[in-house]
Amino acid sequence: MSTDNQSKQALSDQLEALIKEAEKINRGIEEDGSQATKEVDALVADIQETIGRIKQTCADIDNSEQEANDNIDRSILEEAEFMDNNE
């Protein structure tokens, strides 16, 4: 009877040990996830900032070009007006 109890206790202890081990593994999984999230979040922030700069450059170039186009169009109109005034 005593051996039985001892045997049951040993199994119970082993189960408790497994619980602790499972807790440790799960904590590890959470830490892995948290570390990856932290790493990726920093990268995402950097990516967003870079994307913002690229979009701004695209807009700046488009605006420069549009502005130049408009100025050239205006020079046509000025020219037409000049020709008309000097007829």
């Binding site: 593994i25 990516i47 169009d73 020219e79 007006e81």
Partner: protein, 344 residues
């Protein structure tokens, strides 16, 4: 009046057309007001349309012809420099035709009068010489007539000079216009050159960061593989303990109801579930990043082409027009001309 596909077929610049469409849709629509909505008008900015509207009908016609002519000559991917060059050539052609017409009607008529008067003067001089040789009186009257003709020639020459000055003033104006268009194109080139390096660096950074995100995903997957091995090992040891409990006369159901066994099973399931969640979250994030990068990449591609195209142009001579020179003066040797004040 026309749609984008039709315009694209004719090799129009999609950006420019997009802008004209945007202007069209942004409450800048003049159709409702019954105003000129010709194709030439649609490509103009609202400010330029205002200038166009206040031109005389004759000036409008000239402007429309030039704009149409420039538009027909612009290739599919024309840049500002090409446009500036084409506009310079077109304006030169228009002005040159106009000047030729002017000379044809006015100066040539004057020249014909001068030629006729010079012939008369020559004839009178012949008569004067003949009368003098033969000692016939009346030479003084002939000299007076000749002087009158010479005065007329002088007056006509003066009038011709006025036309010449006008012609030269127009040529000067042409040079100023070409300088101005050079300046406009150079400004775009300068801005592009300034942006080129940081833009390329940003695109490279984006690629590097994307790779880093992929690497972070791979690292997490490797860690998950280790954790999964640990959980599988735990599962095996739990099964071994369950078997040991069953050997102690406990039924499978009784073993499964054991609180410790239940707790272990719950934790193993929770570990797997957490890894799946992390994997799914990372995948979703990577997809979002990929899609954002693809979107900005598509937007950046034409800008990159423009930057390369403009950066290759030598800034000192973006536009040259061999035709812009005077027949009588070396106006192309004039010092850089000041930029004239704008209309409006």
């Amino acid at each position: 009046m026309f749609d984008s596909s039709q315009r694209l077929d004719r090799g129009d610049d999609p950006d420019r057309l997009q802008n004209s469409d945007a202007r069209h849709e942004s409450g800048d629509d003049s159709r409702e007001k019954g105003e000129d909505m010709s194709e030439e008008m649609l490509i103009l900015s609202s400010k330029n349309r205002s200038i166009f509207k206040r031109l005389t009908d004759r000036a409008k016609k000239t402007a429309r012809n030039i704009i149409r002519s420039v538009k027909d000559k612009i290739p599919g991917k024309a840049d500002v420099c090409a446009k500036a060059q084409i506009v310079t050539n077109e304006l030169y052609t228009h002005r040159h035709e106009r000047i030729q017409l002017h000379w044809g009607k006015e100066v040539e008529a004057i020249q014909m009068q001068i030629d006729a008067l010079q012939a008369s003067a020559k004839s009178i001089q012949g008569q004067i010489d003949d009368f003098r040789k033969r000692k016939i009186p009346g030479v003084d009257d002939m000299i007076l007539s000749k002087r009158t003709i010479e005065m007329q020639i002088h007056n006509l020459e003066t009038q011709k000079d006025k036309y010449q000055s006008k012609y030269e003033a127009e040529q000067d104006k042409m040079i100023i216009g070409a300088n101005e268009r050079n300046r406009i194109a150079s400004e775009v080139i300068r801005r592009c050159k300034d942006k080129m390096e940081p833009f390329e660096r940003d695109l490279e950074t984006l690629e590097k960061r994307k790779k880093s995100v992929d690497l972070a995903g791979e690292k997490l997957e490797a860690k998950h593989a280790e954790r999964k091995k640990d959980l599988d090992d735990l599962e095996e040891r739990k099964t071994a303990l369950e078997n040991a409990l069953m050997m102690g006369n406990k039924s499978r159901e009784e073993v499964k109801r054991n609180p410790s066994v239940k707790a272990i099973e719950k934790m193993i399931a929770s570990g797997h579930k957490e890894m799946q969640k992390q994997k799914a979250d990372l995948l979703r994030l990577r997809n979002e990043i990929d899609s954002q990068i693809a979107e900005v990449g598509a937007q950046a591609a034409p800008t990159r082409d423009k930057l390369f195209r403009y950066s290759r142009i030598k800034e000192e001579a973006p536009i040259t027009n061999e035709n812009v020179k005077d027949r009588n003066r070396k106006v192309h040797n004039l010092p850089p001309l000041p930029i004239r004040p704008r209309i409006g």
